[in-house]
């Protein structure tokens, strides 16, 4: 189980559009062997098919696909976008933070979602994550939640 460790968090990412932002969050998981290439394709396909419903809160997107699309380990990555990007959500655009969710069918999946919910139920954390300029700042936010 992996949750926002330094090698799956990237700050100030430049992306041209929603799909490339999803790809950037997915690539962090791919580089660590946590998901397969096919999973990133499935995340983008889910966006094309079902729209931006995974923009769950103002400025926050949590793209994901199904465990069988190619997840090796339950995991959550984070990219903070340099420039906010429009995903097409009626209320929560533009997106600044993208959490790449490697959804597994194990209990770890539930633990990760609980951690993420704990983090994001506090709206000041969203602002802090958007403004963070280093991993240390993000680490501080995560430690406050423990």
């Amino acid at each position: 189980m992996r949750f926002l460790e330094p090698d799956i968090v990237k700050i100030g990412v430049e992306a041209a559009d929603a799909e490339s932002a999803i790809e950037a969050a997915g690539n962090l998981l791919l580089q660590e062997g946590l998901v397969e290439e096919s999973y990133i394709e499935a995340m983008k396909e889910a966006y094309r098919k079902n729209g931006p419903y995974f923009v769950l809160a103002p400025h926050i997107a949590i793209p994901h696909a199904r465990p069988e699309d190619g997840v090796n380990e339950a995991s959550v990555s984070l990219i903070q976008l340099k420039e906010p990007i429009v995903f097409g959500h009626i209320m929560n655009d533009p997106v600044q933070i993208v959490f790449g969710l490697g959804a597994s069918s194990s209990d770890e999946h539930l633990i990760l979602l609980k951690k993420l919910t704990g983090l994001l139920n506090d709206t000041t954390n969203v602002e802090k994550l958007s403004n963070a300029t280093s991993y240390d700042e993000i680490k501080n936010i995560l430690e406050m939640e423990r």
Partner: protein, 90 residues
Amino acid sequence: MMKILTVCGLGQGTSLILKMNVEQALNEKGIKADVEHTDVSTASSMEADYIITSNELAESLQGHSAKVFIVNNYFDMGEINNAIKEHIES
């Protein structure tokens, strides 16, 4: 027992997050309900009293026998509490 579905595109991630926060809100209000998370196509053929989902997916659930209502911010307990108050408690 009241049955509530939380619905997302795949039934894997976001609907589960919504379920956790809806259950917390219901507990605090002392409302007993069976909350299940699922994907949008499965939801169309399931029986329920209420369906809670995002604006995008609510459109494809029009015509469902359950009362469908929307939450825009899945992490805003205030919004979730208000939505439950408006649609379930009233």
